[in-house]
Structures are given as structure tokens and as C-alpha cells.
């Protein structure tokens, strides 16, 4: 599933990850092409449901059971991320989101960041001017993670707050589809 170049260079990924503050790594062209196309086809067919609590978030949840099960249980992915994080991953909880113009999530006092790390796998080419970045905040650092087709991002959550930046009208009908994995 994962592009062989990354599997071969996992120790380099680990170095890059641990040098950042917050600790994170961005890997483009992450999935092998056939696997990417297979997942995209399943995502396209899947049902969507609006999730909207105005003072917390607005997005569509994508219900793709097979994909959720796959990313929650795949041992190769779990092992790959475990090596970068330097820990044994006990559990992964998957949520698939579709973000459109006017969607967002906010930092919320009651919503403590779940999990010790998180990964994102994007399926949409994107222009940062549309908004919709995943913002990572640690101390004074604020890092926008912008969507790109087949981009994988892994970040630690200790001391990190994150939110989906408001997506503005310039996005038009463009949407971001992203698999979000909460790692425990």
C-alpha cells in the first residue's frame, strides 16, 4: 500500500519527525497509484452526512466502512507509523471528512485533543487561498497543513491544538476529502 521509497527510508522519516516542533512529517505520493485509485473510487461512492454544531464544527462525514476498517486494522501502516512515532500503536480510530466552502472546526475548551498522535491522508489538490488547512498550534508555532492529493501527514498531539481553518467562498465547488486517524 505505502510507496516503497517511504518504507525503505523510515529512519529518515523518524529524524525529520523528531526535529520539528510540533513533531510532524509530510509525505507526498504516499500510496501506490493502484491503491490510491481503489480508495478514491470507494470514497466517491460512499454516503455523506452533514455534521454541524455551529459553535464547534461543520463538515460532511463520509461513510466508507471498508476503508475505515482497512485503515484501523492494517498492520503495515500501523507498524510504519509506530516506527516514526517510536511507540507501539494500540488503537487507531478513523473518521473520513469532506470539507466544502463554509466548513470549519474551532478550538473548544471542552474538546480536549483525543489521542497521542494523528494522521491525515488527503485526496484533493488544493489552493491555500481557499482556506481549509489543518492548523497545528504548539506554543507560538502555527503550522498550516494544506491538502494535496495523496499527501500523508503524521503529527504528535502532546501539547498541540488543531483545527480546520474556515474554508472560504473562493473554494467554489472544490472539496477536500481526507482520512483522519486518531492514534492511541
Amino acid at each position: 500500500m505505502i510507496h516503497p521509497q517511504y518504507q525503505a527510508q523510515v529512519s529518515d522519516m523518524q529524524k525529520v519527525f523528531s526535529m520539528q516542533a510540533p513533531k510532524y512529517v509530510v509525505l507526498d505520493e504516499f500510496l501506490q497509484k493502484d491503491e490510491l485509485k481503489r480508495i478514491e473510487a470507494l470514497l466517491k461512492k460512499a454516503k455523506r452526512k452533514e455534521q454541524y454544531i455551529p459553535d464547534q464544527y461543520r463538515y460532511h462525514q463520509v461513510f466508507a466502512k471498508d476503508i475505515i476498517k482497512f485503515f484501523e486494522t492494517d498492520s503495515a501502516l500501523r507498524s510504519f507509523m509506530g516506527m516514526i512515532l517510536g511507540k507501539v500503536i494500540k488503537e487507531i480510530k478513523i473518521n473520513i471528512l469532506e470539507l466544502s466552502a463554509q466548513d470549519y472546526s474551532v478550538l473548544h475548551d471542552k474538546n480536549k485533543e483525543a489521542g497521542s498522535a494523528e494522521f491525515l491522508l488527503f485526496f484533493s489538490e488544493w489552493d491555500a487561498a481557499y482556506g481549509g488547512a489543518r492548523m497545528l498550534i504548539k506554543d507560538d508555532e502555527k503550522i498550516p497543513v494544506v491538502s494535496k492529493r495523496n499527501r500523508f501527514v503524521l503529527f504528535e498531539k502532546k501539547g498541540v491544538q488543531s483545527y480546520w481553518q474556515y474554508m472560504n467562498h473562493k473554494a467554489g465547488k472544490n472539496k477536500i476529502v481526507v482520512i483522519q486517524g486518531i492514534i492511541k
Binding site: I53, P54, D55, Q56, Q102, Y104, S105, V106, L107, G131, M135, Y163, Q165, Y166, N168, H169, K170
Partner: protein, 201 residues
């Protein structure tokens, strides 16, 4: 009206009985938009003065817009005069009568803001410190977007926007700050929306 208030406020706009009725009956929570609130020449002078203030970009999860420093620190004489007016015993008393809410003289946290295209303010209830009544004085309306959206409440959270108040030049929006006063400023699509906002306490 006392002299200072009379020189600024359009007496035809603030008919206490009418404003009070509109405020108390408004849904989803008490609010009212008072049109042509300032005397025309005072409004133009204030708008010009505010547009010359220094605006800084503010962006976080909840909002993105341009904002001045607190207006009480402005060195502009027109803005100083306006600030004194809005915090004066006479004007605050007028707002207290319109809202039927006991208010102390003075205003707090008054800033001018410009919402340019793509700028927004997400849903929140404004509850902080001693805020009792929020106000927005519209100086320049956006041409597309930029409405104030008012939300219903369900299970302690805002549910849906049920009313949109379009920004209108020289109009004053006031609403009661409470656990139900969920509101937002929808994204501006065209034009710049300039206003002064603050709270009575």
C-alpha cells in the same frame, strides 16, 4: 435629549417605545436594528475618522478580519467625541430604556473592524466579563455577504441561523448578551464591511 446626545443622535430614529417593543419581541433573542441612528454630518465625520485608523489583521480559528486598537486610545478628536457619547450617562440610559436592562455608564472593548472578502466571524455567544448588551454600529456595508446571523439554541448549543441582519450604513444593532445570544458574521464575498463594535455593561 441632552445637548451632547442631541448633537449626535437622530431623534426620529430612537423612539424609545417603538425600539423597546421591537427589542423585546425579536426572535431568536432580544435585538433591534436602529436605522439612521446618527445625525448625517456626525456619521460622515465618524466614518472618515475611523477609516483613517490603523487596522491590523486578526486571524484564529474563530475569526479573520482587520481590527483597530481599542478606540478609547484613539487620538482622533471625532472618535474621542463619539466614545464619550456612547459611554455617557445619557446615552447609556437611553440604551437601558430601549432594552429594559440595567446598565452602568461607559462602554467596554470598543474596536473598529473591517471585514474584507473571505473574512468572517464564526458562531459564539459573546458572554465574557460583565457584558450585558452588545452593539454594532455599521459604518460601511459589504456589497455581498457580511450579514449578522442569529441562531436558535438547542440542548445548550446553537442550532441553526434563523435570521440574517444585513449591515446597513449608519445603523445600530443592539442585542442582549446571554447564554442564548449565539451569532456570527457570515463571510464577506464582495466589498468591505466596516463597523464599530463593543458592549454596554
Amino acid at each position: 435629549m441632552k445637548n451632547h446626545v442631541a448633537s449626535w443622535i437622530n431623534p426620529k430614529a430612537v423612539e424609545i417605545k417603538k425600539v423597546k417593543h421591537s427589542f423585546s419581541k425579536a426572535k431568536p433573542f432580544p435585538h433591534v436594528l436602529i436605522k439612521n441612528v446618527l445625525q448625517a454630518e456626525k456619521f460622515i465625520a465618524l466614518k472618515n475618522a475611523v477609516s483613517k485608523e490603523k487596522f491590523m489583521e486578526k486571524e484564529c480559528d474563530l475569526f479573520h478580519f482587520l481590527q483597530t486598537d481599542e478606540l478609547k486610545f484613539s487620538k482622533n478628536k471625532v472618535i474621542q467625541e463619539w466614545y464619550e457619547l456612547f459611554g455617557s450617562k445619557e446615552f447609556v440610559s437611553l440604551i437601558a430604556q430601549c432594552t429594559n436592562i440595567k446598565l452602568a455608564p461607559g462602554v467596554m472593548d470598543t474596536f473598529a473592524a473591517v471585514y474584507a472578502p473571505t473574512h468572517f466571524l464564526l458562531c459564539h455567544d459573546d458572554r465574557l466579563q460583565k457584558r450585558k448588551v452588545a452593539f454594532i454600529l455599521y459604518l460601511e456595508p459589504s456589497t455581498q455577504g457580511g450579514a449578522l446571523e442569529l441562531f436558535t439554541k438547542k440542548n445548550g448549543h446553537p442550532a441553526r441561523p434563523v435570521k440574517k441582519v444585513m449591515p446597513l450604513e449608519n445603523s445600530l444593532m443592539i442585542f442582549e448578551v446571554s447564554g442564548s445570544s449565539f451569532h456570527a458574521v457570515e463571510e464577506v464575498r464582495k466589498g468591505n464591511r466596516m463597523s464599530i463594535g463593543g458592549w454596554f455593561h
